[in-house]
């Protein structure tokens, strides 16, 4: 099992190296800057996130009242997103970007809970770091707090259903959720700034080539880090994981099942 994992990881590294060779320097990837979405689009994305934020607050409230013992774990999921979005990591395309860290929380608490936690991280960065912005908070929350988590959640549930091992579904969920966050950012910018020739599609593709390729190695890093945390949690916080339905019990080794009682 370890061997196949190494094979997979080395394949991914080869991919990242290939990406370096084929894609040019001088690109960037981050959240959308303050004031850099036209007013109508900024307002549109703000409206779009409202139902998800309400659902998220409700879902968090439900989790906390039903299972007070999960409060700490919820805080940890938020803190994980907090750390990961502070780490601006150099990428093979010659620019830097940061992971989002919302995949872990999505796996533990569902997608809408991470809409709220992701939004809190984004507000912190917009107000204190001038990174992202309040006018673009709607758009950035939509990409990092809604599209990313929902993609992660879908992939996590889907791969689990197909019988993938836990580490693989966690890895794929976190990695692809991270990547799709930045694909969404590219689409949002493409929609707001259609190219003179080719319109929305051309400019989206342009932003996509910039955002998505920078993000590939970082998304892989986020996937691996999320697997590491899940590894630790599954040896020490099994009870909490069972409550938050990461394990249905079936895939647990019997030696571990004894612990929950």
């Amino acid at each position: 099992m370890a061997l196949s994992k190494f094979k997979k990881i080395s394949l991914l590294i080869c991919y990242a190296v290939t990406v370096t060779i084929f894609f040019p320097n001088d690109v960037y990837a981050m959240h959308i800057m303050e004031g850099f979405l036209p007013f109508n689009w900024a307002a549109f994305w703000w409206m779009a996130i409202i139902p998800f934020v309400i659902a998220g607050v409700r879902s968090i409230k439900r989790t906390v009242t039903l299972h007070p013992s999960l409060k700490m774990l919820l805080g940890m999921a938020g803190a994980f997103a907090f750390v990961l979005s502070a780490l601006k990591i150099p990428s093979v395309t010659g620019s830097s970007s940061h992971p989002t860290g919302v995949g872990l929380g999505t796996i533990l608490f569902g997608p809408t809970a991470m809409t709220v936690l992701g939004m809190i991280v984004l507000i912190f960065q917009a107000l204190l770091l001038a990174h992202g912005g309040i006018t673009t908070l709607g758009a950035n929350t939509f990409s990092m707090g809604i599209v990313g988590p929902f993609v992660s959640y879908g992939i996590y549930k889907g791969t689990k259903k197909l019988g993938a091992p836990l580490w693989l579904s966690v890895f794929l969920a976190a990695t692809l959720g991270d990547l799709m966050t930045y694909v969404t950012t590219a689409l949002q910018l493409g929609l707001a700034f259609p190219a003179a020739t080719g319109g929305v599609i051309a400019s989206s593709l342009k932003f996509m080539s910039i955002f998505a390729f920078t993000q590939i190695p970082l998304a892989i890093s986020e996937g691996i880090l999320t697997v590491m945390v899940i590894n630790v949690l599954s040896s020490y916080s099994l009870k909490e994981l069972q409550i938050s339905s990461v394990f249905t019990g079936k895939e647990l080794p019997t030696s571990k099942r004894r612990v929950k009682q």
Partner: protein, 98 residues
């Protein structure tokens, strides 16, 4: 494989992914580059002017990196507090069991 060994190996992979670009593309700027973002938008729509400024901006790159480091420190502080807490709880529970 032990969990610690497994995670150690995974951590090495992450470190390689993070640091390899520095050696692979030596002449790159590695800018997070909001300036470059502005340029890209400027070529697509030369008339666009940002209509809103941040309320407050870190006065220098040093202050900004301090704040980012603080954010990472606070976050990782809580993550590892929780992991340590649950490890302690786990081993205490194990000790109680005969």
């Amino acid at each position: 494989m032990k969990p610690i060994a497994k995670n150690g190996l995974l951590l090495i992979v992450v470190a390689v992914l993070a640091f390899a670009p520095l050696f692979m593309t030596r002449d790159a700027q590695f800018a997070g580059a909001d300036d470059q973002a502005q340029q890209a938008i400027g070529t697509l729509n030369p008339n666009y002017k940002p209509w809103f400024k941040p309320f407050w901006e870190p006065p220098s790159a040093e202050v900004e990196s301090f704040l980012f480091a603080l954010q990472a420190a606070l976050g990782s502080g809580f993550v590892f507090y929780y992991l340590g807490y649950s490890k302690g709880k786990h081993s205490a529970a194990k000790k109680d069991q005969p």
